[in-house]
Each structure stands twice: as structure tokens, then as C-alpha cells.
């Protein structure tokens, strides 16, 4: 059975990653996912962004289940 999670990137995070979506092996938790993303995209380390798991904002470390959709949400400032 596949153990993938689906990443959706927004705003400047997508720009820096060079893609708006990405499938990854489930690293288990949101913290582990962040570390994996930082390894793969070091430029993200200096950026602040929030995570939403299955369209729910998650600020503390949380468990990821297979098939979860994780949105990477940086703040926007323009107006």
C-alpha cells in the first residue's frame, strides 16, 4: 500500500521550490516533514510558513496519515 503524502505549496514557498505540488513518502509527523523539506530545499529554512493538514491549520507538531494533503502557507503582504 502506498504511504504517500501530497504537498501543495503556495506563494513564495512554491516559487522557491520551483513547483506547486509534490508527493513524498510519509515522514510520519509535520516536524519530520519540515526537516525533510529543508534538506531537499535548503532555501526554505530561512522562510516562515505555516502548515495545513487536510485543510486544517496546524501550528504544533502533528501526526501525518497516509494520503494526507499538506499545504505550505507563507504569509502574503501585498495590497
Amino acid at each position: 500500500m502506498s504511504n504517500l503524502i501530497h504537498i501543495k505549496a503556495f506563494g513564495m514557498v512554491a516559487e522557491k521550490m520551483g513547483k506547486v505540488s509534490l508527493d513524498l513518502e510519509n515522514p510520519g509527523t509535520t516536524e519530520a516533514l519540515k526537516n525533510q523539506l529543508f534538506d531537499q530545499f535548503p532555501v526554505l529554512k530561512s522562510m516562515k510558513f505555516s502548515l495545513a493538514v487536510n485543510k486544517k491549520m496546524v501550528l504544533e507538531d502533528s501526526e501525518l496519515v497516509s494520503g494526507a494533503e499538506v499545504a505550505l502557507l507563507p504569509p502574503f503582504s501585498g495590497g
Binding site: K8, G11, K48, S50, S77
Partner: protein
């Protein structure tokens, strides 16, 4: 029949909804890309009293999205120009004009006088200030922001168990971490759409009609026309100031890592021997600026030439548009924390206009 007839006959809105709008007051912070479209519909819908605060003047590059301004408005104050536009259109709205920026000094008094605040600003420092001031006042505010082809909208601090901006982004971003429209570019219609959504949310909150985006953030991508909705959870505790005294002593510019800026006019008045005047553009960028005492230290070599500025008491930095100079000012402030370091607003582009 009157100008609100089509709202009166709307099932569930009716004369009651209209009365609520008539008796309501809104403070629009920022009359720019989001403020202009939002104001068009708030005024058309009949919000009774509208305050507009903006210290900025109309620039030709604003005209692709700040649709209340035309060529005749260039150089004029934005708050004043939008209000004069509406005064010709409708006679039944009370307008209040504030030709200044929202600051820690004026936020308490200004916001106290309105039922709802709308955040149409273009920088994090003011966004966090609006958030914190509305929390202290217990007032709801409509939030909207854009980044290139994406926008976001929410309603914060509305009623009980309500989220605020710090529940979404607890920490203020650093300088130049997230560029604004001046740097990334923007199709004018995106802030038009997001500004309209903000007006819609404001009307829902004020009239009690429909379901405002409370504890929800809506994202919209103008290139794909897709939306994405995220559910927010209030934390109950906020990392913002817990009193007006603390707020007044918060340096939001500094907290957001923003550097000090000055205009060309102010910069010209400062020229003397203890001031280093630095062009951080690359050497081939046009037009060159020729004046005595000018130092050319391109961004690409700034790190290795920091010692050239050792003797200056003050450092004034400029580039083409005022963005790289902010970054340079940030770098220099870390090397020389005791020097007065300023980035010149708008760069060479501002000097030309």
C-alpha cells in the same frame, strides 16, 4: 424606490440589513490595490460612515490596480482622492479622511471610533499593528493580502472563540523575506478580486447576512482560478501586546526587520562630510547618478567592501527601486549597529519622477 432597492428586496437582507449598514462605520486602512475596489462596493452598498487612512501619494505605477485614481491624481494623497471621488457620487455617506499612516501612536484613538477595520495595507508591520490594536479594542477586522498571483482573505477577531492573524502566522517575517507588488509585479485584477471579497466579508459582518470567513482563510490563485480554504483554530493566547502601553512601545518596523527609510528630499538635506552616500546598484545600471561624495558599492561585492564605510557616521543607501537598498541597509546594520543607516525610498525611480 431608492438606490438600495435591490438590497431591500433581497430575501434575508431586507430593510433591516440595510439599516445595519447605514448605522455602521468602517475604517479602511490603506487606499491602494485592495482598498480601492473594497471601497467601491462598501460605498455602493451604503455603509453609513467610512474613514480612510493613507499617508501615501498616487504614483503612476499604482494605476493598473488602484482603480479609483487616474492620471490627474498623480502626486496627490490617496485618502483625500478616494474620498473626493465618492463625494461626487453619493450624498448619503459620512466620510473621514486621515492623510497619515496608521502608527502605534494613533491606532488606539482611530480604531476606537469604528465598528470594523479593513486591512488593505501592503506591509507586515502595519498588518501586525492592525491585528494587535483590533484585539485590544475587541473589534473585528477583515484581512486581505496578495502575493503575485495569489490572494488570501479572512475575518479576524469576530465574536467569541475567534482567530486572529497571529493564529495563522505567529511570527513576523523578516526584512525582504516576502516581497511586495512593487518587486514581484501584479495583474491589477487580482487585488480587484481580493478587495471585492473583503468588501463582501465586511458587508456580511456588518449586516449579519450570510456566513463571514470567521476561523477560515480563503486562498485564491488568479492563474489557475482555483480556491483553497483552510480551517483555522483559535489558540486563545496571543503573542501580541497585552496592553496599549506595550503596543505603543512596540517597534513594528523593527520587529518585522524593516529598515529605516528616508525620501530623496530628506536625504539631500543630510549631505555633509560625515555621511556616506552609497549606490548599491551594479556598475552597468542606468541612469548613473553623478554627484560629489557618492560611493559605488554594488550589492554583489557589498560583503567584501563593508570596511569602506567604517568612518561614516551615517549611511544613506539607494538602488533602482528601493528594495535592494533595504537589504543592504539590513546587512550594514548588522555590521555597524551603532551607525544611523537609511535606505532611500523608491530608489532612482523615485528621483526620476
Amino acid at each position: 424606490m431608492n438606490r438600495f432597492d435591490r438590497q431591500y428586496i433581497l430575501n434575508g437582507f431586507g430593510i433591516d440589513g440595510q439599516k445595519k449598514l447605514r448605522n455602521a462605520s468602517v475604517l479602511m486602512v490603506g487606499a491602494g490595490g485592495l482598498g480601492c475596489p473594497a471601497l467601491l462596493y462598501l460605498a455602493a452598498a451604503g455603509v453609513g460612515r467610512i474613514g480612510v487612512i493613507d499617508g501615501d501619494t498616487v504614483n503612476v505605477t499604482n494605476l493598473n490596480r488602484q482603480v479609483l485614481f487616474g492620471e490627474k491624481d498623480l502626486g496627490k494623497n490617496k485618502a483625500e482622492q478616494v474620498v473626493s471621488h465618492f463625494q461626487d457620487k453619493y450624498s448619503d455617506i459620512t466620510w473621514e479622511i486621515f492623510q497619515e499612516y496608521l502608527t502605534v501612536q494613533n491606532a488606539q484613538e482611530l480604531i476606537a471610533d469604528y465598528d470594523l477595520v479593513i486591512d488593505g495595507t501592503d506591509n507586515f508591520a502595519t498588518r501586525y499593528l492592525i491585528n494587535d490594536a483590533c484585539l485590544l479594542h475587541g473589534k473585528p477586522f477583515v484581512f486581505g493580502a496578495i502575493y503575485q498571483h495569489e490572494g488570501q482573505v479572512s475575518v479576524f477577531n469576530l465574536g467569541e472563540k475567534a482567530c486572529n492573524y497571529r493564529d495563522v502566522h505567529p511570527e513576523m517575517p523578516g526584512p525582504n523575506e516576502i516581497p511586495n507588488c512593487a518587486e514581484t509585479g501584479v495583474l491589477g485584477v487580482l487585488p480587484g478580486i481580493i478587495g471585492n471579497m473583503m468588501a463582501l466579508e465586511a458587508i456580511k459582518v456588518l449586516s449579519g447576512y450570510g456566513e463571514p470567513l470567521k476561523n477560515r482563510m480563503l486562498y485564491f490563485n488568479s492563474l489557475t482560478s482555483q480556491t483553497y480554504e483552510v480551517e483555522l483554530t483559535p489558540k486563545g493566547l496571543t503573542s501580541g501586546p497585552d496592553s496599549w502601553e506595550v503596543l505603543e512601545n512596540t517597534d513594528y518596523q523593527q520587529a518585522c526587520g524593516a529598515v529605516k527609510e528616508m525620501t530623496w528630499k530628506e536625504a539631500m538635506g543630510k549631505m555633509n562630510q560625515n555621511v556616506a552616500f552609497v549606490d548599491v546598484r551594479e556598475l552597468d545600471e542606468l541612469p548613473p547618478l553623478v554627484c560629489t561624495g557618492l560611493m559605488k558599492i554594488p550589492m554583489s561585492v557589498l560583503d567584501s567592501e563593508l570596511d569602506k564605510l567604517e568612518d561614516a557616521e551615517q549611511i544613506l543607501i539607494f538602488c533602482q527601486s528601493g528594495m535592494r537598498s533595504q537589504k543592504a541597509a539590513q546587512i550594514l546594520s548588522e555590521t555597524y549597529p551603532d551607525k544611523a543607516i537609511f535606505s532611500i525610498k523608491g530608489g532612482i525611480n523615485a528621483l526620476k519622477s
